[in-house]
Amino acid sequence: MTHSRPQPPPHGVGSANAAATSELFARVYEELHAIAHRCMRGERGAHTLQATAVVHEVFLRLVRSEGTKWSDPDHLLAVAARAVRRILVNHALARRSQRRGGGRPHLPFDDTHGVASDLPGYELIALGDALEELERLDPRQARLVELRFFGGLGAAEIARVLGVSLRTVEGDWSLARAWLRRRMAKGHEE
C-alpha cells in the first residue's frame, strides 16, 4: 500500500515553529494510521471499531508521545483533522488501486467504522482533489472543510480554531460546499 507523504497543516506559524508543527503532524498521522490499520486487521477482535473508539485511542497514544511541545490545544485539533483527512483519502486511494490491481482483498476503512461517511470511496478521492484546489484559492476555506467534515467539529469550535467570527465560518461553509459540489460534479475547471 502506498501513501502520499503527510503534509503539515497550513497553520499560521512562523518558520521557527514549522519544523515542530510538521513533526507533530507526522506523529498524529502515524498514530491515527496505526490504530486504523490494527483495527482493520482485526487485532482487536471481531467488534467493529466505532469512531469514538478511534479518538479514545488517539488520546492514549498522544499521552505517550514525548518531546513534542504544543502550547495550543486548538492547533492540535487542526492537526488531527488534517490527519483524518489524509487517512481517509489515502485509504480510498489504496482501495481503488487494489481493485484495479486485484490481489489482496480490500479492507474498506470507512466500513470498519459502522457509521462511515455517506461518501463512497471514489468521491472521497474527488473531494481530496477538490480540496487541494480550494486550498490554493482560499486556504481558510479548505481548513474549514477539514475541521468540519473530517474533524467533526462544530461551528463555534471551528471559529475558535481559525480565529474568525461565527458569521465568517457560516459564510465560508456555504460557499465551500457549493464550490466543492460543483467542482466534484464537473471535474477540473479552468
Binding site: 499521552v63 505517550r64 513534542t68 511541545k69 467533526g152 474568525v164 459540489r181
Partner: protein
C-alpha cells in the same frame, strides 16, 4: 481564477445569499456591471448552493465523531481520583489537563504520562521524580504538588501528577498584554531568581527555565512550573541536555550540538543563572539571546547583542546586571541566582550594583579582539577610500573594456573585478566597525552619555589623527562616516559629513570629476531618503546628462545615478514619469547581475513595475535579483533586506500569502537586528507586516505595529510626511474594522487635511484618502457629507485612470447611488 478574484466572488456570493431571492438578479447585475465572468461564476455557485442538500452535512466519520473528543475528555474520562476537564497543552513530556478531584472538587493541573515497562527511563518514573522534588519545594513562587499516582486505563498504566493550577499566563505574554514597565519586569524576575536559589539550596537545579515555564497569576505573582527536567538528590541526571533553545548557556548549547548524551555534562546552577539572564533579556528586548548567533553565525560570538543597543534607554546598571548573568565564560558569569536577584533588587532600590561594569573601552577592545582581521584591514581600507572611487572605478572601467575584448583578457578582468569586490567589502567593514563601535560605546566613565554624532565624529578625529597625511584620508574618513550615518538612518547628518568630505578633498587637490560625481550621488541619496526628492533631483538631473554623454564613466556610477534619479522621479511624479529612466538603466544592470548598484537598480525597477500594477513583472525582476544578492552579498546586507521586503510584498499582491509572509518576516527580523527598532527601513518593514496582519484579520497586531510606525515616522520624517500619512491612513482603516469609528474618522480627517496641504491636487493618495473618508461617512449614514468627497474622487479618478477604469466606473455607480439617496432623504416624508 486567482485568490484575490476568488475573494471578490466570495464577497458577492455572500451578499447575494443575504439578499432575498427576488432582489438577487438585480443586485448581481448591478454589482457585476460589465464583468460577465464574475456574474456567471457567482450565479453558478448560487445554483449549486441551492442543490447542496446534505452534501458534506454529516462528518466523514459520523455525526457522533469529533477530533475534539480525543483531547477533551469531558465527563467520560476519569483518571485516578480526578475527572479531566480540558486540555491545557503539553508539558515537556505527555499531556497537561485541567482536572477536578472527584471528592474534594479541588481543581488542579494534571500531568499525564504512560508507564512503559522494560525501560529504566520512562515517563512515569520521571513523573515520580518530579513529584518527589516538588514535595520538597514549598515556595510561594513554585507551583505546589498536590499528589501523584498511577491509574489503569484500557490495560495501560498511566502516571499522573497533580499540581497547583496557576490561573494566569506565561510571563512573556503577561508582560506583553499588561504592557508591564521595566521595573515590574525586573521585580518579577528577581522573585523568580529567589525561588531558583531556594531550589539550588536544596541541591535541585531546574535546567529548563524559559518563559513557557514561568507563569504569572492575575495579581502579578510569578510561579515556576514544570520541574520535568530538574535534577537533584532524588532525581538523578539522565543525560538529557538541559534547557530550551534560546535559554541555554553556551556550554550547554555546545553539549547539545555535539549530540552525545554520554558526554553531556551534568547541568549546573550556572545554566539556571544564565537562563534567568536570558529570560530577563528577552522580556526587556523582545529577542532571545541566541538570535545573534543564529542569524549571523559568521560572527562566532557567544554573547548576545548588547541589551542597550536594542533598547538604549536601558543603558547603565540594569544592562550590566543582565549581561553579567549572560557571560559566556562560566567562571566569570554571575555566581548564583541569589547574587542575580540581589543585584536586581539593588537596581530597583536605586543602589549601586555589584556586577562589574564593562567599560566602553573594554567592550571596544573585546570587539577589536574578535575582529582582529577587520581592524587590521582598517588602514588598508582607508587608503582605498582615500584613493577613492577613482581606483575602484578605474579597475571597473578596464574590466568593462576587457570584457568586450578577447577571452584571455576576460580572465584578467574577472580577477580585477574580484579585487574591486574585496575593496568594496573593506569599505563596508569600516561602516560595520563604526556601527559596532557605536553600539559598544556604553556610558562614558564621567557619566556623560555621548550622542551618536559625537561618537562617530570622535572616532573620525582619533583615527584620522593616527594617519600620516590629512586631506584625502580625512576626506575618505568623512565619506565613510557619512555612509555610516546614512546606514543608521541619520540622513541629514550623513549629508553634512559627505559635504565635508567634498570640501576636504578639494582642499588637497582639484577634485577628480568622477570622485566628485560619486560624492554628489551620496549627497543626493541622503536627501532622497530624508524625504526631499526635489532636492535630490536638483543634483541628479544635470549629472545624468553628463554621465550619458561620456561613456568613459564607470557603468556603476551611471547606475547609481540612474536608480536614484528614477526613485526621486517616482516619488515626485509617479511611475509613468520614471519609466524612461528604468528603460535606460535596466540594460546596464543586466550587464553585471551581481553588482550592488545593479541590484539596487533592479529593486527600483521592481517598485515601478509594481506601482504600474504589473506584479508578475516585478517578481520576474526581483526574484533573480534576490538570488544574486543572497549569493554575493553578506547575509544581512541592507540591499538583500530591501529585496526580501519588496519581493514579499509582490507575492502578497499576486496572492501567494505564505511566500509573502515568509519573506516579509525575514526582512523585518533582519532589519530589526541590523538597524534597530527606530530606523526608517525597520519602520517600513513593520508597516508592511501590519498590512499583512490586517489582511490575515489579526487586527490588534496590525494596530500595535502601525502605532509604532506612526510614532517612529512622526519623529524621524515628520507627522505630515507622505509615508507617515499612509501609515496613519492604514491605522484608521484598522480602527474602523475594530469598530472604533470615531477614532477612525478623526484620523482620516487629519490625514486628508495634511495630504491636501502637502500634495498637488489630483494625486493618487488624495483620491484614496478621500474615498476612505467617504466610505466611512456612508457607513455611518451621512451620505450628504460623503457626496462632495465622492464627487471629487470621481473627477480625480477619471483624470488619473481614465473613464473606463474599473475604479472610475465603480465610483460613478456609487456616486449615482449616493446622490439618489441624498435626494430621497431631502424630500419631505410622504404623509
Amino acid at each position: 481564477m486567482n485568490p484575490p478574484a476568488f475573494q471578490r466572488v466570495r464577497e458577492l456570493f455572500l451578499e447575494a445569499l443575504a439578499a432575498s431571492p427576488e432582489t438577487r438578479p438585480a443586485l448581481l447585475q448591478q454589482r457585476c456591471r460589465g464583468d460577465d465572468h464574475l456574474l456567471a461564476e457567482v450565479q453558478s455557485l448560487l445554483a449549486n448552493h441551492q442543490d447542496t442538500g446534505d452534501f458534506l452535512a454529516v462528518p466523514a466519520l459520523g455525526s457522533q465523531f469529533s477530533v475534539a473528543d480525543a483531547f477533551v475528555a469531558g465527563e467520560r474520562r476519569t483518571l485516578g481520583p480526578y475527572r479531566l476537564q480540558a486540555l491545557l497543552g503539553s508539558g515537556g513530556h505527555g499531556l497537561v489537563y485541567r482536572a477536578e478531584h472527584l471528592e474534594t472538587g479541588q481543581v488542579v493541573a494534571l500531568k499525564v504520562q504512560r508507564h512503559s515497562s522494560g525501560t529504566t527511563d520512562d515517563g512515569a518514573r520521571r513523573l515520580g521524580h518530579e513529584a518527589d522534588l516538588l514535595r520538597q519545594l514549598r515556595h510561594p513562587a513554585i507551583a505546589a504538588c498536590h499528589g501523584a499516582g498511577t491509574a489503569e486505563q484500557d490495560g495501560e498504566t498511566l502516571a499522573w501528577l497533580a499540581m497547583e493550577l496557576v490561573p494566569g499566563q506565561t510571563i512573556d505574554r503577561f508582560v506583553q498584554q499588561n504592557d508591564a514597565g521595566v521595573r515590574q519586569v525586573v521585580a518579577l524576575v528577581a522573585e523568580v531568581a529567589a525561588a531558583v536559589q531556594f531550589a539550588h539550596d536544596l541541591g535541585i537545579t531546574h535546567n529548563d527555565l524559559s518563559p513557557a515555564n514561568v507563569l504569572v497569576t492575575a495579581d502579578g505573582r510569578p510561579k515556576i512550573v514544570d520541574f520535568g527536567l530538574a535534577t537533584g538528590p532524588q532525581a538523578p541526571f539522565r543525560g538529557a541536555a538541559a534547557g530550551t533553545p534560546g535559554f541555554q548557556a553556551p556550554e550547554t548549547r555546545r553539549a547539545a550540538i555535539a549530540g552525545q548524551p554520554a558526554a553531556t555534562p551534568r547541568p549546573t546552577t550556572g545554566q539556571d543563572v544564565y537562563a534567568l539572564g536570558a529570560l530577563l533579556y528577552q522580556l526587556l528586548s523582545g529577542r532571545t539571546v541566541d538570535e545573534r548567533a543564529r542569524l549571523w553565525p559568521e560572527e562566532r560570538d557567544d554573547e548576545p547583542w548588547p541589551l542597550d543597543a536594542l533598547r538604549p534607554e536601558l543603558r547603565g546598571d540594569l544592562c550590566t546586571v543582565v549581561h553579567h548573568a549572560l557571560v559566556a565564560d562560566l567562571q566569570r558569569r554571575c555566581a548564583s541566582a541569589a547574587q542575580f536577584a540581589a543585584d536586581l533588587r539593588r537596581w530597583l532600590r536605586g543602589e549601586p550594583v555589584r556586577a562589574p561594569r564593562p567599560t566602553a573601552w573594554r567592550r571596544a577592545l573585546r570587539f577589536a579582539g574578535r575582529h582582529r582581521a577587520l581592524v587590521g584591514a582598517l588602514l588598508a581600507t582607508f587608503v582605498v577610500l582615500a584613493a577613492g572611487v577613482t581606483s575602484t572605478s578605474l579597475a571597473l572601467r578596464e574590466a568593462q573594456c576587457a570584457r568586450a575584448d578577447e577571452q584571455q583578457q576576460r580572465l584578467l578582468a574577472e580577477a580585477r573585478l574580484r579585487e574591486v569586490d574585496r575593496a568594496r567589502g573593506r569599505a563596508e567593514a569600516v561602516g560595520d566597525y563604526l556601527t559596532e563601535l557605536l553600539r559598544s560605546a556604553a556610558e562614558a566613565p564621567d557619566g556623560v552619555r555621548p550622542s551618536l554624532e559625537t561618537v562617530l565624529v570622535g572616532a573620525a578625529e582619533q583615527l584620522g589623527a593616527a594617519l600620516p597625511d590629512g586631506g584625502s584620508l580625512q576626506s575618505g574618513m568623512c565619506q565613510a562616516l557619512g555612509l555610516s550615518l546614512y546606514a543608521l538612518g541619520r540622513f541629514e547628518l550623513a549629508e553634512r559629513q559627505v559635504q565635508r568630505a567634498v570640501e576636504l578633498a578639494r582642499k588637497e587637490a582639484p577634485l577628480d570629476e568622477e570622485r566628485h560625481l560619486s560624492l554628489q550621488i551620496d549627497i543626493a541619496m541622503a536627501r532622497l531618503h530624508a524625504g526631499r526628492p526635489a532636492d535630490a533631483l536638483a543634483l541628479l538631473q544635470p549629472m545624468r546628462d553628463r554621465l550619458r554623454t561620456a561613456d568613459a564613466f564607470a557603468i556603476t556610477l551611471r547606475l547609481r545615478c540612474l536608480h536614484n534619479h528614477a526613485l526621486a522621479t517616482f516619488e515626485l511624479a509617479g511611475a509613468r514619469a520614471a519609466r524612461p529612466l528604468v528603460d535606460e538603466m535596466l540594460p546596464l544592470a543586466e550587464a553585471m547581475p551581481a553588482d550592488e548598484n545593479a541590484l539596487a537598480a533592479r529593486t527600483v525597477a521592481g517598485r515601478i513595475w509594481s506601482a504600474e500594477g504589473d506584479h508578475r513583472g516585478a517578481i520576474a525582476i526581483l526574484e533573480p535579483a534576490l538570488r544574486a544578492a543572497l549569493a554575493h552579498l553578506p547575509a544581512h546586507h541592507p540591499q538583500s533586506l530591501i529585496l526580501l521586503n519588496n519581493l514579499g510584498l509582490e507575492y502578497l499582491k499576486v496572492g501567494d500569502r505564505s511566500r509573502g509572509e515568509e519573506l516579509l518576516e525575514t526582512a523585518a527580523a533582519g532589519r530589526r537586528l541590523r538597524f534597530g527598532e527606530k530606523h526608517p527601513e525597520t519602520l517600513q518593514s513593520l508597516h508592511n507586516l501590519a498590512s499583512l496582519r490586517a489582511d490575515q484579520g489579526r487586527h490588534e497586531e496590525a494596530i500595535a505595529l502601525l502605532q509604532q510606525v506612526v510614532d517612529g515616522r512622526s519623529r524621524s520624517i515628520g507627522p505630515n510626511h507622505p509615508k507617515t500619512l499612509v501609515s496613519k491612513n492604514n491605522l484608521a482603516r484598522q480602527f474602523e474594522s475594530r469598530g472604533d469609528l470615531d477614532a477612525a474618522e478623526a484620523l482620516l480627517r487629519e490625514v486628508l487635511a495634511a495630504a491636501e496641504a502637502a500634495l498637488p491636487s489630483g494625486r493618487e493618495p488624495l483620491l484614496i484618502y478621500r474615498y476612505n473618508l467617504a466610505r466611512l461617512l456612508l457607513a455611518t449614514h451621512r451620505p450628504a457629507d460623503a457626496l462632495p468627497l465622492l464627487q471629487q474622487c470621481f473627477v480625480d479618478a477619471e483624470a488619473l485612470r481614465g473613464a473606463d477604469h474599473a475604479v472610475t466606473r465603480e465610483l460613478a455607480t456609487k456616486l449615482a447611488q449616493v446622490r439618489r439617496d441624498v435626494e430621497s432623504r431631502s424630500r419631505p416624508l410622504p404623509r
